[in-house]
Amino acid sequence: MRRFNILALVVFLVAVGGLFALGPGATQKIQSGFLGIIAPWLKSGSNVERRITAIRKGLKTLDELEAENKELLVHNKELQAVNQTLRDLETENNRLRRALHYRELAAFQLVPARVIARDASTWWNTIKIDRGFADGIESDMPVVTEDGLVGKTTTVARNASTVLLISDENCKVACGIEGSLEQGIVSGERTSSGSMPIISMRFLSKTANLQPGQKVLTSGVGGVYPSGIFVGGVKEFRVRELDGYATIVPAVDLTGLEDVFVVLGKK
């Protein structure tokens, strides 16, 4: 039996060595294949999660209404329930109208997508969306919402993709400051997490003297992100030894993403 263990160990090490030797292309193919396998499960889980959230939200609002309108609820319970359902529909309608309005105005060809899962790991900030190469999506395509930049696609499967969020340290975006010639690189921080996204802008000039609230927009340098996409607002600027450094408040609430758009290219 010990011989079998040694044999198993040798086979194991050879297999792992084979994986180490894989290049970026083969790695992405494996990632894409596995994303294709796990995506239907994530979609099903996401649907269940949405239903549960919807029920919980409905109950919570009902509680609030109960506290505020206790007397009214006693007499008009049925009416309140109908009213609540309509309110939920109105909120959803407004959200979708806002999204469609953005789609009509945008100069880019956009593919709407729904977030099916957030990253399960500690050190990487990604989300999974329900659109893939069947919808024309490829890796390194910008992902936005009506509020601004979300990130870019990385692994793409047939009907799902992974989006690297701007709060990830590996997501680097060439940006400029609105109304000035200042340029820099926006990226996430290693301490950034799904619940606490932190992004910063580096390589600014030391004399930049940015003020809180100034808008940060993509500059178009690098070829991945078109110019003019809103990234966030300056929170704080400080001068370091070699460059200027600004912390940025993301334009998009990265913790509560539900619907996004993938930018395929110009219309």
């Binding site: 044999l7 992405q28 994530l42 899962a117 992974t162 921080e189 290693r190 619940s195």
Partner: protein, 194 residues
């Protein structure tokens, strides 16, 4: 045994799916990491060879979801590279699975507390190893300085504590599945010794 091994493979896949729907806890972003618990139970309940296969499957699934192919440089100097090669998690899982296998004699005697404790420690070690690999790799590319602050401590220790608390439940559930398919994990060592 093979049937129970397949159950563990399915359980590790499902635990990975479930992980996606558990939001980070607290302002530090502490994550619940379930899949290694299935592996650690497998390390106790399966022979060494099958534990290696389970570590391979778990590590491959994890790497397939987390490994990042990044672009370095612009224009003519642009190149794509894999940040941390596919396979590192497999090695890490196999190493920690082997450590857990060392506690089999206690498991055989019906003890479970030590294994839960070791599961917690090993889960934190996984997160720590990931952090160190990332830091070394990113420093090598010239990206960022080494950071180790209060939040990082929490995000390494937190998953370990959660794993420690959840391990008895996960072990109990997997033990029940073993009983359901007529597999006795406590006999595995005797079979190996023969």
């Amino acid at each position: 045994m093979i049937l129970f091994f397949l159950i563990l493979v399915i359980a590790s896949f499902l635990s990975l799916v479930i992980q996606h729907f558990v939001p980070p806890l607290g302002p530090e972003g502490v994550r619940l990491i379930l899949m290694p618990l299935v592996l650690f139970y497998g390390a106790l309940a399966l022979p060494f060879g099958l534990m290696l296969v389970l570590a391979f499957v778990c590590g491959l699934m994890w790497d397939a979801l987390t490994v990042q192919v990044i672009q370095t440089g612009y224009g003519p100097t642009a190149a794509t590279t894999v940040e941390i090669a596919l396979g590192w998690s497999i090695l890490l899982y196999a190493t920690l699975g082997s450590v857990m296998s060392g506690f089999k004699p206690l498991f055989k005697r019906g003890r479970w507390e030590i294994h839960c404790l070791v599961s917690g420690v090993c889960t934190s070690l996984i997160v720590l190893a990931e952090f160190l690999m990332l830091s070394v790799r990113r420093a090598a590319i010239g990206n960022a300085p080494f950071v180790f602050n209060h939040d990082i401590w929490w995000r390494i220790g937190g998953p370990g504590v959660l794993a420690l608390l959840l391990a008895p439940v996960v072990f109990f559930v997997l033990n029940s599945f073993a009983a359901l398919v007529g597999y006795n994990p406590r006999k595995v060592d005797r079979e190996e010794e023969l």
